[in-house]
């Protein structure tokens, strides 16, 4: 049995037909560990590339965050002391709702054009694929929130130190929201009434992250120190990173059967 020559395939100078896989198929598939990392990197790169070419999707999430947080002073009153008091909660809740809205883009697009199917039957472990997609999704939808939030915080009259804690809490919290949300997105794939249903499933699960995150900022504002809240956030993030991809992968397989 002739093994196809691995080296030739990656040589860009050779354009001949023989370089394509007309050679004998490789039935003796040995472990290609390095291919795993390359495949995952390409997946990450692909998702980012698509998001860059469709900037409006990510921008819409960001605009929702900005607009909805502006609604609160309009609804409650713009007195500076009041705004400062409600700022951590308002900003955290609107960030959370923005994350939740963006979940629709995690798997739905891939499901529609058949790419998700291919991801499910690829040689790469689905758990890692889901993790990479969620990280890419956070970079596109969550990270901009972390960067914009301090600016909105200024509108709410928050002092500098609180702004820093706010940004840090969002930096730790929004990835956890994306991870937990990925389970909800996977469960509701292709289901009618998807957007509201995802909210119903995911919001109760979001409560701990909200409490720890907003609590960290509030505690720092009242002088109690943000350490407790931030550590709890970090722990939640770690646990989500370890467990959420498994649940989401299982949910994806169930949804795609």
């Amino acid at each position: 049995m002739i093994r196809p020559d691995l080296n030739n395939l990656t040589n860009p100078d050779n354009l001949q037909m023989s370089q394509l896989s007309t050679a004998v198929p490789n039935t003796d598939f040995t472990e290609t560990g390095s291919q795993l990392w390359l495949a995952l990197y390409r997946l990450f790169q692909r998702d980012l590339r698509i998001a860059l070419r469709r900037r409006s999707d990510a921008a819409a999430v960001l605009f929702f965050f900005v607009i909805s947080s502006s609604l609160f002073p309009l609804g409650i009153g713009a007195e500076p002391q009041l705004l400062r008091a409600i700022a951590p909660g308002v900003l955290w809740v609107t960030a959370l709702l923005s994350c939740m809205l963006s979940l629709g883009r995690l798997f739905a697009a891939d499901n529609a054009d058949g790419t998700l199917e291919q991801l499910l039957i690829s040689p790469q472990p689905l758990v890692l694929i889901v993790l990479v997609k969620t990280i890419a999704h956070w970079v596109i939808s969550g990270l901009p929130l972390v960067l914009i939030a301090p600016l909105i915080g200024l509108q709410f009259n928050m002092p500098a130190q609180e702004l820093a804690i706010l940004a840090l809490s969002l930096l730790l919290g929004t990835p956890a929201l994306s991870l937990v949300g990925s389970v909800g997105a996977a469960l509701t794939l292709g289901v009618r009434g998807g957007g509201v249903l995802v909210a119903l499933l995911v919001l109760p699960l979001y409560v701990p992250v909200l409490v720890f995150g907003a609590g960290a900022v509030t505690a720092s504002a009242s002088g109690m120190g943000a350490d407790a809240g931030l550590s709890l956030l970090g722990a939640t993030l770690l646990i989500s990173t370890v467990f959420a991809p498994y649940a989401a992968a299982a949910a994806l397989r169930i949804s795609m059967e």
Binding site: I50, G114, T115, L120, S122
Partner: protein, 208 residues
Amino acid sequence: MGNMLEAINLQCTRGERLLFKDVSFALHGGDLLHLNGANGSGKTSLLRTLCGLSRLQGGSILWRGENIQDLREDYCAQVVYIGHQAGVKDDLTTTENLCFSSALAGVPISQDQANAALSMVGLEDYVDRPARALSQGQKRRVALARLWVSRSPLWILDEPFTALDKKASALLKERIESFLAGIGMVILTTHQEIDINARSIQHVRLDA
């Protein structure tokens, strides 16, 4: 040499209807299996079950004697599945799409190799163009281009000749034939007459 792929007593129920049961077959290197049946008889369900996408509802599928549910990703590495959906991202170019599909399958290729494969399916004019500009049939051809760069020994193709013109059909037929000659295995469904030269051709018919 033992069986490479063995399906034993497969069955499928969709909703309340039993689509098929007691479907069994065995494939060796060089075999072509033609899956036949009326529309809605469960051909696509059977193919998806063979890939591991749909759950087994009865019976078992063995690859080299081992259950594919135990092999998981190792089995997936052996299979190329091209179904009804093209699996092509509109926002990427044809070349990027093919490079990604190949990297995902564990076989990274260069841009030039991707372009060479695309020209094999008659898309040389669409190289490096966004896939959004392509028709549905052309997108399917981008998917089929994977067959020229894949290393997997088993191809599962759901109506591959649909939306191909005569020239592309001939190229695909030729590719399948050389693959089979090199002891690859192909399972396919098609409405057209099977005109492919193969060492052995099996026919499985799904009847309600």
